[in-house]
Each structure stands twice: as structure tokens, then as C-alpha cells.
């Protein structure tokens, strides 16, 4: 099933777009796996996702760890640690 990906801040700049619709293969089960799969497909993705310690994620508008399963997710956002306030 297609998942809407959203990128923010330097992740967006590094990937080169603010989002995309993807349909990962069955073997991709977590956000980390999704990032691996995307990184294998393109150099900008590989660079954006190289340092996992600098990445955070949300599934359907809720913060989650990168090892969270993606089953049932409609929207997944990838971004740096937040710096508001």
C-alpha cells in the first residue's frame, strides 16, 4: 500500500523534495528499513539518511522511534530533532 512520505528542514533540502508517495516491498517492515530501501535507490536519499542519530520520525502525525513498524501507516514524516520554542 502506498505511503505518503514528508521531509522537513535539512532532510527536505538534502533529499531535494518535500515529500513523495512510495510503495515499499513486503520485506520493508520498519521506518529504519524504509530508509535503507530509499537510500539504496538514490544518492540524495542515501546522503540525507546517512546519520540515523540525527533523524527523527512521525507516523500519522505522532512521534515514533525509527524501529517502529510501518504496517498500516498512511503518512510518515522524516526530520531532524525539533528546534522550536
Amino acid at each position: 500500500m502506498a505511503i505518503e512520505l514528508l521531509y522537513f528542514a535539512w532532510v527536505r533540502e538534502s533529499v531535494g523534495k518535500d515529500g513523495e508517495s512510495v510503495d515499499p516491498p513486503a520485506g520493508v517492515t520498519t521506518i529504519a528499513g524504509l530508509l535503507d530501501w530509499l537510500a539504496a535507490s538514490s544518492e540524495p536519499h542515501a546522503q540525507a539518511f546517512a546519520d540515523r542519530a540525527r533523524l527523527r520520525a512521525a507516523i500519522d502525525q505522532r512521534f515514533v522511534p525509527l524501529d517502529t513498524p510501518i504496517e498500516g501507516a498512511r503518512e510518515i514524516a522524516i526530520f531532524p530533532p525539533v528546534t522550536g520554542g
Binding site: 522537513f8 512521525a58 502525525q61 512521534f63 531532524p80 525539533v82 528546534t83 522550536g84 520554542g85
Partner: protein, 143 residues
């Protein structure tokens, strides 16, 4: 009340709204863009579909921990310059400790749990994304 907006706000108006609740204590925090070190502007990006819900969750947590009669959180996004207001947190309670503590709690949690990202532009033409600070995580953990 939760508001996410590009426009400025008037802290006096917001305080008056909380004072009108007629409880004994109103506390507030206003965050401003710092102008030190040659900063020219700051651009705040956010995750529109998530931001308000995230702020609501933080506000609900504050209301769960302290007896609050009123609570206001306003966070701006877009391009801001030194001296501009970024964020406002106001709380009203019958007790001063509840008003003060919940206000500090809200701003500490905003730093770590609201989906905003700041990009700084400098006088020399350079720009950079602000890095999250471990002190902010520590400030959240003290609650």
C-alpha cells in the same frame, strides 16, 4: 487556547484574556528572536498537519498536572527578524506555583515535542539549521 500563525501577537491582549478569568495568578513566557552574533533573520518551518495536535497534547499534559483555569500557547512560523516574538505561553491558576511551574513546563516541552525547525540567516550571507541541544532534553526531563 492554541494558535499557530505567521502573524505577530500582542502579549498584553493575551494576558488580559487570562486575567479576565478572575483567578489569583497569571504567569507568562514570551520567546524572542535573539539579535546577537550577526543574526539577520530566522525562518521557522513546521509540520502543519501535526503542529496543532502536538501543542494540544503538551497543553493537555500541563492541564493534567496542574489545576489551571486557563492556558494559552501561541507559536509563530515563517520569517522572523531579531526582536520579533516567536512564542507565547500563558497560564492562569488560583495558585502562583501552579501558574509559574506549568508555564515553565510548557515552554520546556515545546522545545522538544513540537514539530518546528529554525533556520538562521547571518550577516555574512551564510545560513544554517539550528541543531537541537541536549540541554533542552535535560530541561524536559526535569519535569
Amino acid at each position: 487556547m492554541i494558535r499557530v500563525q505567521p502573524d505577530d501577537f500582542d502579549p498584553g491582549t493575551e494576558l488580559a484574556r487570562l486575567e479576565a478569568l478572575n483567578v489569583g495568578a497569571v504567569a507568562s513566557f514570551t520567546g524572542l528572536v535573539r539579535g546577537d552574533g550577526g543574526l539577520v533573520a530566522m525562518t521557522l518551518e513546521h509540520y502543519p498537519a501535526m503542529t496543532e495536535a502536538a501543542l494540544r497534547a503538551i497543553a493537555d499534559e500541563a492541564a493534567r498536572r496542574w489545576p489551571l483555569a486557563g492556558l494559552t500557547v501561541i507559536h509563530r512560523h515563517g520569517r522572523l527578524v531579531p526582536g520579533d516574538r516567536i512564542v507565547f505561553v500563558g497560564t492562569a491558576s488560583s495558585h502562583r506555583a501552579a501558574a509559574l511551574e506549568s508555564c515553565a513546563f510548557l515552554i520546556d516541552w515545546l522545545k522538544t515535542d513540537a514539530p518546528f525547525w529554525k533556520r538562521e540567516q547571518w550577516a555574512d550571507g551564510s545560513s544554517r539549521w539550528v541543531e537541537a541541544r541536549s540541554e533542552d532534553d535535560a530541561a524536559k526531563e526535569r519535569w
